[in-house]
C-alpha cells in the first residue's frame, strides 16, 4: 500500500465517484464531519473535502466527490493504483453528537455524500436519524442502499419526481415537522442555497440547525484566513472553527458570493487544461 494510493474507485453516478485511499495517519483519528486537504500532484491546488468515511484498521479513508472543478476533474482521471501527492487531516471539528436523541439530516445532491458519514455516524452513536435525500432526478441518486441500512428512516425526494417523492428537501422537512416529528437538531449538507432554506425553516420552528460549510482554503490550520465566513456577525474560520456551524447564524449570501469568486478564472483555466493535455495531466 503506497502513500495516498487509490485502492478502490467506484462510480456512483455519471458525475460522482467514491474513492478508498490509503492514508493511515488520517484514518487513525478521523471522525464524522471532519475533512482532509488534498493535492493531486505538484501542480495541483490544495482543496478541502469532507471525508465520507474511514477505516482505522485498514488505514484508509473514503472520499466521495463530484467532478465539478479543476481538481475534481483531474481526480476523475486518476485510477486505482495512482497516488495523490498529498493528503493531510483530519481537519476541522467533528460532528457534535453528545446529548442528541433524534435528528433529521437533510442532504442535497453531492452533499448527500458528505451527509452520509454524519447521518450514519450519529446512528451508530445511538441517535435516531431521519434522513432526507434530495436529488434533481433519478440518474443522480447515490448511496440509497447505504443510507437505508445506516439510518432509521430514509425519505428519498427528487425535484422532478423521477424517483421517490416529487418534492424539494425543504418541502419534505416541513411535512415531517408538521406531522409531529420532533427533532433535537437538523443537519443540513448540500448546496448553500438549500442549506440556507433548511436553516430558515428550522429557525421558524425553533429547532437547532447545523450546517456543514465549504470554503476556499489553503493550509486548513487557520494560517491563511481564506475560509472566513460571517457567523452571527463575527468572522469565523471554517477550517478550525468549523466546518459545522449553527446554520441559523450563517451569513449565507456572503458565503455564496465568496465561494463563487474563483469560478470564472477556473472555468477559463479548465478549458485551457483540456486543450493542452486532453485533461490528462496526471498521466503525461
Amino acid at each position: 500500500m503506497k502513500r495516498f494510493e487509490i485502492l478502490k474507485k467506484r462510480k456512483l453516478n455519471n458525475n460522482i465517484t467514491w474513492l478508498v485511499i490509503s492514508a493511515p495517519l488520517v484514518a487513525r483519528k478521523a471522525k464524522p464531519g471532519q475533512f482532509i486537504i488534498l493535492r493531486t500532484d505538484e501542480f495541483g491546488e490544495r482543496i478541502p473535502l469532507t471525508m465520507a468515511g474511514h477505516d482505522e484498521k485498514a488505514g484508509t479513508i473514503d472520499l466521495i466527490y463530484a467532478a465539478v472543478g479543476r481538481t475534481t476533474m483531474l481526480m476523475d482521471r486518476m485510477e486505482e493504483g495512482d497516488c495523490f501527492a498529498d493528503i493531510v487531516g483530519p481537519l476541522g471539528k467533528p460532528t457534535h453528537m453528545e446529548g442528541l436523541k433524534k435528528v433529521c439530516v437533510v442532504g442535497g445532491g453531492t452533499g448527500n455524500a458528505l451527509a452520509y458519514p454524519i447521518a450514519t455516524g450519529m446512528h451508530r452513536h445511538g441517535i435516531k436519524v431521519d434522513m432526507i435525500c434530495g436529488f434533481k432526478n433519478k440518474e443522480l441518486v447515490i448511496l440509497e442502499e447505504e443510507f437505508r441500512k445506516g439510518t432509521d428512516h430514509l425519505y428519498m425526494v427528487t425535484d422532478d419526481g423521477s424517483y421517490g417523492e416529487k418534492a424539494f428537501t425543504t418541502d419534505k422537512l416541513k411535512q415531517l415537522i408538521s406531522e409531529g416529528h420532533v427533532y433535537d437538531e437538523i443537519v443540513a449538507v448540500g448546496p448553500p442555497i438549500m442549506m440556507k432554506l433548511v436553516c430558515q425553516l428550522a429557525k421558524e420552528h425553533g429547532i437547532a440547525c447545523v450546517a456543514s460549510l465549504t470554503a476556499y482554503m489553503i493550509d486548513g490550520t487557520g494560517m491563511c484566513g481564506g475560509c472566513r465566513a460571517i457567523i452571527g456577525g463575527e468572522n469565523k474560520f471554517v477550517c478550525v472553527d468549523g466546518p459545522e456551524f449553527d446554520g441559523t447564524l450563517v451569513d449565507w449570501d456572503e458565503l455564496i458570493r465568496r465561494n463563487a469568486y474563483y469560478a470564472q478564472q477556473e472555468a477559463h483555466d479548465r478549458a485551457h487544461v483540456c486543450r493542452l493535455t486532453g485533461g490528462v495531466r496526471y498521466h503525461d
Binding site: 493531510v88 490550520t221 494560517m223 474560520f237
Partner: protein, 383 residues
C-alpha cells in the same frame, strides 16, 4: 590591514524596473573581491558587540577575519558551528537591529555588512563544496520530535542533530520550510536555497514527515508515550491572521497577506504551469509596514498591478520592516502612504472592492512601546 571606507561595499542588484516584473532574486551577492574588501572594514573589536546582537551568537569577528584572508570555507565552518541556516539568515535576518546594529563602524558611518558577508560565505560554500558528502551525525540514542518545519523547527533540528539526537520533524503542509517557503517570496529568498539547507539537515540524519498534523493526527502526548520521543519542540508559527475589524473586510478582493503570499510562494501562482488561482487587480493597497507587508506589495507589483500602495499608520521613522526591504520597495515603485489608517473598505453591492477609506494620522506622545502613538487627524477619501 583595515579598509577605512565609511560605507558598505554595495551589493549588485537586478535593476529596479526589470526586477519588479520577475520573481528572480533581487540581490545578486558579493564577488570574492568585494567580500574581502568589505571584510577588511571589520575593526576586530575585542568586545565583539556584534556577537551579542546575534540570537545564535555567530562568531562574527572570527568568520570575517577568515573572509578577509580569503579563507572562505574556514569562514563557513566557523558560522556553521552556531548557525544551522547561514544562507537563509544572511538574506532575511533584520541585521540592522541585531549584529549590524551593534557594529562600532555604525557610529561614524555604515556598519560592516555582516549579513551580506554571511550570505557570501554560505553561497560560496554551496557553489564549491555543496556536492560534498555529508556524513550522518553519530547517534546518542535519544529521540526528539520537532513540530513545524519552519525556521524555528529547522534551527532546532540542526542543533539537536549536531549534538547526536535522532530528530524527526513533522510538518502539516506538503512542503518543508514554513514561512521561508510559503511567506517569503522567491525574489528575496530563493526556494532552492531553503531546499539546500534542508537537504543538509536530511543528510545529517534529520527525518522529515510532511502532511502530518500534530495535535490532530498524532497528539503531543502520543509522540511521547507511543512514538518514543523523549522531548518535543513545538515551533508552529504565528497562527491565525489578525484582521482589522473594519467594515468591508469580507469583500471579494480582500485577503490576508498570509493567503496572498501562500498562493504565490508555496502554491506558485506566478508560474503558468500551476493551477493556483490568484486575485489580480490594477490598484492594490497593502495595510501594514512590516516585512510581510513589503513582501505582499512587491509580489503584487510583480503579479502585474499598476499601482501598489503601502498604508501605514505611523511615519517612516517607526516603520518596522527591514531597511533594505523598504529601500527595495521604494525603488520598485511601491507608493508609501504614511500616517494613514484605514477605517472602511468600500465595495459594490455584488461584493467587489472599489476603494478604501482612510483617516489621516499624526503622532502624539510616546506610548508603552516607546514609539509615538498615532492619533486621528481628519477623514479624507482614498479610493
Amino acid at each position: 590591514m583595515i579598509n577605512f571606507a565609511k560605507q558598505k561595499n554595495p551589493m549588485p542588484e537586478q535593476e529596479a524596473n526589470v526586477r519588479n516584473h520577475n520573481f528572480q532574486e533581487v540581490a545578486l551577492g558579493y564577488s570574492p573581491e568585494a567580500a574581502v574588501r568589505e571584510a577588511m572594514r571589520c575593526l576586530k573589536c575585542r568586545k565583539h558587540p556584534c556577537m551579542d546582537g546575534c540570537p545564535v551568537m555567530v562568531r562574527i569577528p572570527e568568520f570575517i577575519e577568515k573572509v578577509a584572508q580569503g579563507e572562505f570555507e574556514e569562514a563557513y565552518q566557523i558560522i556553521r558551528k552556531t548557525s544551522s541556516l547561514p544562507a537563509i539568515c544572511g538574506r532575511v535576518c533584520p541585521q540592522e537591529t541585531q549584529c549590524e546594529g551593534r557594529c562600532v563602524q555604525a557610529t561614524k558611518g555604515e556598519p560592516v555588512a555582516i549579513g551580506r558577508l554571511e550570505r557570501f560565505v554560505a553561497d560560496w560554500h554551496g557553489a564549491n563544496y555543496g556536492d560534498e558528502e555529508i556524513l550522518p551525525a553519530k547517534s546518542n540514542g535519544h529521540k526528539v520530535a520537532v513540530v513545524g518545519a519552519g525556521p524555528a523547527g529547522l534551527a532546532c533540528a540542526g542543533d539537536m542533530v549536531n549534538k547526536g539526537y535522532e530528530v524527526t520533524v513533522y510538518e502539516s503542509l506538503h512542503k518543508t520550510g514554513g514561512v521561508l517557503v510559503y511567506g517569503i517570496p522567491q525574489f528575496r529568498l530563493p526556494k532552492e536555497i531553503v531546499a539546500a539547507e534542508i537537504a543538509q539537515l536530511e543528510a545529517k540524519g534529520v527525518r522529515f514527515v510532511t502532511d502530518a498534523l500534530i495535535g490532530k493526527a498524532i497528539t503531543v502526548d502520543e509522540l511521547m508515550s507511543q512514538e518514543g520521543f523523549e522531548s518535543v519542540f513545538i515551533g508552529t508559527g504565528a497562527g491565525l491572521p489578525a484582521f482589522m475589524n473594519i467594515p468591508g473586510e469580507n469583500l471579494l478582493e480582500v485577503c490576508s497577506a498570509n493567503e496572498y503570499l501562500t498562493r504565490i510562494n508555496l502554491m506558485k501562482a506566478y508560474l503558468e504551469e500551476y493551477d493556483t488561482p490568484i486575485m489580480r487587480a490594477e490598484r492594490i493597497a497593502v495595510v501594514g509596514g512590516g516585512n510581510v507587508a513589503m513582501d505582499a506589495a512587491r509580489c503584487a507589483k510583480r503579479m502585474g498591478a499598476k499601482e501598489v500602495s503601502i498604508i501605514y499608520r505611523r511615519s517612516a521613522e517607526e516603520i518596522p520592516a527591514r531597511a533594505e526591504e523598504i529601500h527595495h520597495a521604494v525603488e520598485e515603485g511601491i507608493i508609501f502612504r504614511y500616517l494613514t489608517n484605514p477605517v472602511a473598505i468600500k465595495g459594490t453591492p455584488e461584493g467587489h472592492v472599489t476603494g478604501i477609506e482612510c483617516v489621516e494620522m499624526e503622532l502624539g506622545e510616546p506610548d508603552a512601546s516607546g514609539r509615538r502613538r498615532p492619533v486621528e487627524k481628519r477623514i479624507h477619501g482614498l479610493s
